[in-house]
């Protein structure tokens, strides 16, 4: 079970969650309309610098965004092939900037703060009976809280396979993972009830 939050006192830590989410949304929309790599490059560098100066060890910092950057690289290569270098550079810089900004916001916002903000933002939908705002906030918090734990369990199942000399087959890896996860989900749901979540 891991938190993606990083302790610190950077300006991004001090900004309210709502402002950060609005910033991210605005950046995503505005950057969509910027096509010049020369304009996108400093924005990309600023976002990357913001992320890498949060206090995360370099290895962990790369680890968090590595797969996304790899996917962007593949996309860029495809764009280079079909649309040329300018388009490829613009696409990679644009998405890269948003990824670094999103990662920086994630790292500077505690899960409970996210949860509170999402709950507040969804209040209008709750008033018209579309959702239960607190449920959505909790669901998001649980995803952040338990995804790393599921990955850790997957690692244990792989180790158990190795220890018993069993071949790694999707069925024998994922079936126990799903069963154990569902079993835990029942207990976690009970724990949430026991801690008074439904008393709100």
């Amino acid at each position: 079970m891991k938190s993606l939050y990083v302790e610190g006192g950077t300006p991004l830590h001090r900004i309210t969650v709502r402002t950060k989410l609005v910033m991210l949304l605005a950046a995503s929309v505005v950057l969509f309309f910027v096509t010049s790599p020369l304009v996108l490059l400093p924005i990309f560098l600023l976002c990357a610098a913001t992320y890498f100066t949060l206090g995360l060890p370099l290895r962990e910092a790369f680890g968090r965004v590595g797969w996304v950057l790899f996917a962007i690289l593949i996309l860029a290569l495809a764009t280079l092939y079909f649309d040329g270098a300018r388009q490829a550079a613009a696409m990679a810089l644009r998405i890269g900037a948003v990824v670094f900004l999103a990662a920086a916001i994630t790292a500077t916002t505690a899960v409970s703060a996210f949860m509170d903000e999402i709950t507040i933002l969804l209040q209008p939908l709750e008033r018209v009976g579309l959702v239960r705002a607190a449920d959505v906030g909790l669901a998001l918090a649980l995803v952040i809280r338990f995804v790393p734990e599921i990955l850790e369990r997957y690692g244990h199942i792989r180790e158990a396979h190795r220890a018993r000399g069993l071949p790694m087959r999707p069925l024998t890896l994922f079936a126990p993972l799903i069963i154990l996860t569902l079993k835990d989900a029942d207990t976690i749901a009970m724990a949430i009830d026991a801690r008074g979540f439904r008393r709100q």
């Binding site: 891991k2 009830d193 026991a194 008074g196």
Partner: protein, 234 residues
């Protein structure tokens, strides 16, 4: 170290209470009243201990009969019952919902409608009371077994329930952490009900219940009931 003071003691009453899961009877009809401050529950695996304990705070609903906690029906007065009875699960990691210790402790208070400064104050107070203030900003996955158990207890007790139910609280703990948890339980002012395979934990309690095959097989003073359990397990 916590100093025990005398808190409220609730009457826990089981009236013809039975639990079935599909075709399987987990608990046969039971009539029982508990009024003691320290109650132990022992028995083999699958004997109905956890089902019995979960009935008390309404996590499990009776298939027949009723359970009353301080006069409140665990079915019709569910919300008030959750407020009166705190529950610590067998694996305390499952009940830590937030990734940071103080956030997790605040979770229960937020659910009670408390706000900002009061949450901060009460969170700090419970951490200090348990002697774990240094863990406030720690990630819960980094805690040791004993620390996890203490944080789980603090996160439940911060909401000031009248009764605390602990399901195998010393399970998987080393000797040092067992002693730590046992001392902490001993110091609680709340009425405490403990399910345990660790017989030393309940041997000083006022009353011990023994379950076997979904039935109450013994009820009395610890010495006598533990001896009967040893015979059953032999």
């Amino acid at each position: 170290m916590l100093q025990r003071s005398e808190g409220t003691v609730l009457d826990i009453r089981f009236a013809d209470c039975a639990v079935r899961f599909g075709d399987k009877t987990a608990l046969f009809p039971l009539n029982l009243t508990l009024t003691e401050r320290r109650i132990g529950i022992i028995g083999l695996n699958g004997s109905g201990k956890t089902t019995f304990a979960r009935l008390i705070n309404g996590l499990v609903k009776p298939s027949g009969g009723k359970v009353l906690l301080g006069g409140l029906d665990t079915v019709t007065d569910e919300k008030q019952v959750f407020g009166k009875a705190g529950f610590i699960f067998q694996n305390p990691q499952h009940q830590l919902i937030m990734p940071i210790v103080e956030e997790d402790i605040a979770f229960g208070l937020k659910n009670r409608g408390l706000k900002g400064a009061e949450i901060t104050e009460r969170t700090a107070a419970i951490l200090a009371r348990f002697g774990i203030s240094h863990l406030a900003r720690r990630r819960v996955h980094e805690l040791s077994g004993g620390e996890t158990q203490l944080v789980a207890m603090a996160s439940v007790l911060v909401t000031e329930p009248d009764i605390l139910i602990l399901d195998e609280p010393t399970n998987q703990l080393d000797l040092k952490n067992r002693a730590l948890v046992a001392r902490t339980i001993d110091g609680l002012e709340q009425q405490v009900l403990v399910i345990s395979h660790d017989l030393s934990l309940v041997e000083d309690f006022e009353r011990v219940l023994l379950f076997h095959g979904g039935r109450l097989a013994g009820d009395g003073a610890p010495g006598e009931i533990i001896a009967r359990y040893r015979e059953l397990a032999a």
